[in-house]
C-alpha cells in the first residue's frame, strides 16, 4: 500500500479544519496532486457519513414517549434533595454566627420576658412611677438628683438599696 508521509497526520487535521491558513493552503495544494492523500481525505468523509448514519438509525429506534415524564420525575427527586441540601447549607452558614450572638439571643429573650411581664402585669394606673420599683424591704426612689456621678442599685438577695455617690470623676465604683 502506497503511503504519503503527510497523509498520516495532516490530512486528518485538514479534514477537521484545524490547520492554520498557510499550512491549510499548502496541504490542500498537496492533496490536489497526491492520489494517496486524496483517497485518505475521501475515506475520512466516508467514515463520517457512516458514523452519522449509524447514530441516526439508533435515534430513530429509540422510544422517547416516556422521556419527559422520566425527566420530570428526576427533577422532583432532585428538587427535594436540593431543599434538604439548601437547608443544611443554610444551617452551616448560620452556625458560626450563633456562637458570638448568644448574648444577643439572651438579651432578646430577656426583653421578650420583660415585655410579656409588663403586658400581663401592667402597673396600676393610680401608682406613681418611681425611679426604682422595689420589693417590700427595698427602698423606692421617687426622685434623685446629684452634682456627682451617682449609681443606684438594688441587691435582690440582701434587699439592700444603695445610692452610690462616686468620689471619682471617672465613675469608678470600687
Amino acid at each position: 500500500m502506497i503511503t504519503c508521509p503527510r497523509s498520516e497526520r495532516l490530512v486528518a487535521l485538514l479534514y477537521d479544519g484545524e490547520l492554520d491558513s498557510p499550512l491549510r493552503r499548502e496541504i490542500a495544494s498537496h492533496v490536489a496532486g497526491c492520489v494517496v492523500c486524496t483517497r485518505t481525505l475521501a475515506a475520512l468523509g466516508r467514515v463520517q457519513e457512516l458514523v452519522v448514519q449509524a447514530i441516526s438509525e439508533q435515534v430513530e429506534e429509540s422510544d422517547f414517549a416516556n422521556f419527559w415524564e422520566g425527566v420530570a420525575s428526576k427533577l422532583d427527586q432532585q428538587a427535594s434533595s436540593s431543599w434538604r441540601l439548601w437547608l443544611q447549607l443554610w444551617r452551616e452558614r448560620l452556625r458560626p454566627a450563633w456562637v458570638p450572638g448568644a448574648p444577643a439571643w439572651a438579651a432578646t429573650t430577656a426583653a421578650l420576658l420583660v415585655t410579656t411581664f409588663l403586658v400581663f402585669h401592667p402597673p396600676a394606673p393610680s401608682d406613681p412611677a418611681p425611679t426604682v420599683l422595689a420589693g417590700n424591704d427595698q427602698a423606692e426612689i421617687e426622685s434623685l438628683s446629684a452634682s456627682e456621678t451617682v449609681f443606684l442599685w438594688n441587691e435582690s438577695e440582701s434587699n439592700a438599696t444603695v445610692i452610690w455617690v462616686s468620689d471619682d470623676n471617672d465613675g469608678e465604683m470600687l
Binding site: 427602698a139 434623685l144 438628683s145 449609681f151 440582701s158 438599696t161 444603695v162 445610692i163 462616686s166 465604683m173
Partner: protein, 150 residues
C-alpha cells in the same frame, strides 16, 4: 387659688395628718457610718445585723465609725455630722402604706455643696445605703434607717 384646688389641698392635708397620727407623732432616725476598706479582714461585730448587705460592697473590712439615733417630728429636718466634714440632712415626710418617706440630702465641702438629694421611701424598720465617698483609705457606707410606731 380656686375653690376646687383649695378643697383638694385641705383634703390632702387632712389625709397626711391622719397618716401621721396613725404612724405616731415622731419617727426615730438612725444613721450609721461604716468605713469599708481592703486593708484588713476586720469586721465590726456591731454591724452583724447588716452583714449580708455590707458584703454586697465586696470590701474585706467593715468598721462602724459613727452611730447616731434621733427622734424627730414628721416634717422636721435632722442634721447628722458625718466623718470627713460631711453632712446628712434627713427629713421624714410621711408614713403611707407602712412605708416611711424620707427626703435625704448629702452635703460636703468647706462651702457646703449638696452632692446628692433624693426623695425615697423605705419600709418601717427598713434602711437605705448611701455610699461612695472616700475616707481614710476606704469608702464611707452610710446606713439610714427609720422607725415609727404603727
Amino acid at each position: 387659688m380656686t375653690a376646687s384646688r383649695l378643697t383638694l389641698f385641705c383634703f390632702a392635708s387632712v389625709l397626711l395628718g391622719a397618716f401621721q397620727v396613725v404612724a405616731g407623732e415622731m419617727v426615730e432616725l438612725r444613721v450609721e457610718t461604716v468605713l469599708a476598706t481592703n486593708s484588713s479582714q476586720e469586721f465590726d461585730d456591731r454591724l452583724k445585723d447588716i452583714r449580708p448587705q455590707l458584703n454586697d460592697f465586696r470590701f474585706s473590712s467593715y468598721r462602724l465609725v459613727q452611730e447616731e439615733r434621733r427622734r424627730v417630728d414628721w416634717g422636721k429636718q435632722a442634721d447628722f455630722l458625718l466623718p470627713g466634714g460631711r453632712f446628712l440632712q434627713v427629713v421624714p415626710k410621711g408614713y403611707i402604706n407602712k412605708r416611711i418617706a424620707l427626703q435625704v440630702m448629702l452635703i460636703e465641702g468647706t462651702t457646703p455643696t449638696p452632692l446628692m438629694g433624693t426623695l425615697l421611701s423605705i419600709r418601717n424598720h427598713g434602711m437605705v445605703f448611701v455610699a461612695g465617698r472616700k475616707h481614710q483609705g476606704g469608702i464611707l457606707i452610710i446606713r439610714i434607717g427609720a422607725v415609727t410606731e404603727e
